[in-house]
């Protein structure tokens, strides 16, 4: 479904991606792990065309994303941004229903759908008319999640969906992501640092390090791998091939 080939991206002297190769088959849930600042978020943004790679190609359903109708392509995607990226000038339900109302759905119906999506991320209907600035960080994150899934996209990206949530809410969100993949057959890419999330969500795991995908495999393979990078990462050791200062 999504294929990255030899993707490079530098910001000035900072060579973030140095040849990323990754394939995500349709209907699979891929989790990307890797140290802070290694370019996980940049990778997702590159697939969405928000960041243009310097070198390399990215295809979605065998079509090069840099060519053709971008809006048509993006209408198949849902994205939860790491910081939520809610529109401060709109209320919570207007945020969630943004794509629906933009495509001409009538207000009452869009609002009902928004409230239903909010319920699925564990938020009560009374937050619908509040503004994002009035919510806690974790609540904002969940509104962002509701917005990402509102239009039932085929492909969903979650950038750290459970950071800032309590363990119970994190569990709810993990289940939700799993459900979306299994029931709706969506293709998902999730970035997370939370190993319990990885285990709950992932069909496959990919580890990004030094600008390349160092390792990919299933969760079971992840637990038994000899790869020193993965081993250090999943056990949270401060010593190993991944430097603690970067």
């Amino acid at each position: 479904m999504i294929r990255l080939s030899n993707v490079h991206k530098a910001f000035g002297n900072n060579h973030v991606l140095r040849g990323v190769d990754l394939h995500i088959p349709k209907g699979e849930s891929m989790v990307i792990i890797g140290g802070s600042g290694t370019g996980k978020s940049v990778t997702l943004k590159a697939i969405l065309g928000l960041v243009t790679p310097d070198v390399g190609t990215i295809t979605v359903a065998d079509k090069d994303i840099s060519k053709g109708d971008r809006d048509a392509l993006l209408s198949r995607f849902g994205m939860l941004f790491q910081g939520g990226a809610l529109f401060d000038s709109l209320t919570v339900w207007q945020n969630v229903a943004f794509r629906l109302t933009q495509t001409g759905m009538d207000k009452a119906r869009a609002r009902d759908i928004a409230i239903e999506k909010l319920r699925r991320v564990g938020l009560k209907p009374d937050v619908a008319d509040r503004f994002p600035a009035e919510l806690s960080g974790g609540m904002q994150k969940r509104v962002g999640l509701a917005r990402a899934i509102a239009a039932n996209p085929e492909i969903i990206f979650f950038d750290e969906p459970t950071t800032g949530l309590d363990p119970i809410m994190a569990g709810v969100i993990n289940d939700l992501i799993r459900e979306i993949v299994v029931e709706m057959g969506a293709t998902a890419m999730t970035i997370t640092h939370d190993m319990s999330s990885v285990r709950a969500i992932a069909d496959r795991v990919a580890m990004l390090h030094d600008g390349v995908i160092k390792w990919t495999g299933t969760v079971v393979e992840m637990d038994s791998t000899q790869d020193p990078h993965v081993d250090q990462f999943i056990h949270g050791r401060s010593t190993g091939p991944i430097e603690a200062v970067r």
Binding site: L48, G49, L50, L74, G83, A85, F87, Q102
Partner: protein
């Protein structure tokens, strides 16, 4: 020496590059204005924040400027026994020059900064990226409504400013300088020509366009973090103010140098 020349060269190139970038941005804005979709809700809310809420600032500026103008012209006119010109010069000075320019500068301070800060914050917090992923063009959704609203509402502000400014002159003229109220007004009306007022409104429209365009341009290009937004805000106000003064000169040259 070569280093000095090189630095001048670099600065010149940088200025040319930004003129090019701003022109391109303006062209894109106009291009998007002409193609659907058009976001009415955003447009109306922009009219409110840019136009309606700028009324007090513009009104006060005009009031005091009109009053001071009357005092100055009276003092200057007294040197050659021409105190009687106060009403007509106040009116002409207000509608042709001070109304649009001072109004434009005040709106620039108020609106260019707030647009740049708002859009800059949206950029920094990835809201602009979020718009794109939700298949909404930020130029159409953010820039077009604001630029159009400013282009249409600043002339109205200028008109209101003209009237209040003339009233300021009138109040000072009547209460402090001993003019006959009816004669003052008669004098004002007799001397003002349609084009005096209309030229000021055209200036207002151009200034409005510049103000919102600069706010959006610098907001969209905001660097990362709070510092980036701060810089964008400052740059927007400075650029809008300088461009207003430059455009004012060019328009005055165009309209009135026969």
């Amino acid at each position: 020496m070569t280093a000095f020349l090189a630095s001048i060269g670099r600065a010149t190139l940088a200025i040319l590059a930004s003129i090019g970038a701003v022109t391109l941005f303006a062209g894109q804005t106009v291009g998007h204005m002409l193609r659907p979709p058009f976001y009415w809700r955003e447009f109306i809310s922009a009219c409110m924040t840019i136009g309606y809420f700028s009324l007090p600032v513009v009104g006060l500026t005009a009031l005091f400027t009109g009053g001071a103008l009357a005092l100055q012209i009276y003092a200057g006119g007294a040197r050659f026994n021409a105190e009687a010109v106060v009403p007509s010069i106040v009116a002409i000075g207000m509608v042709r020059e001070l109304g649009p320019v001072l109004g434009g500068l005040m709106v620039a301070a108020r609106v260019a900064s707030s647009i740049a800060a708002e859009i800059g914050t949206m950029k920094v917090t990835e809201q602009i990226d979020a718009l794109v992923t939700l298949s909404t063009n930020p130029m159409k959704y953010l820039t077009v409504p604001r630029v159009l609203a400013a282009t249409l509402t600043v002339p109205v502000l200028v008109l209101v400013g003209d009237i209040i400014g003339i009233m300021g002159g009138y109040l000072v003229g009547v209460s402090r300088l001993g003019f006959n109220p009816a004669a003052y007004l008669q004098n004002t009306v007799d001397f003002l020509e349609f084009w005096d007022v209309a030229s000021g409104l055209v200036k207002g429209a151009v200034f409005g366009f510049i103000i919102a365009l600069m706010g959006c341009y610098f907001g969209m290009r905001s660097g990362r973090g709070a510092q980036g937004v701060g810089r964008a805000t400052k740059a927007a106000v400075v650029a809008a103010s300088v461009m207003i003064l430059a455009a004012n000169y060019l328009l005055t040259e165009l309209f009135f140098s026969a």
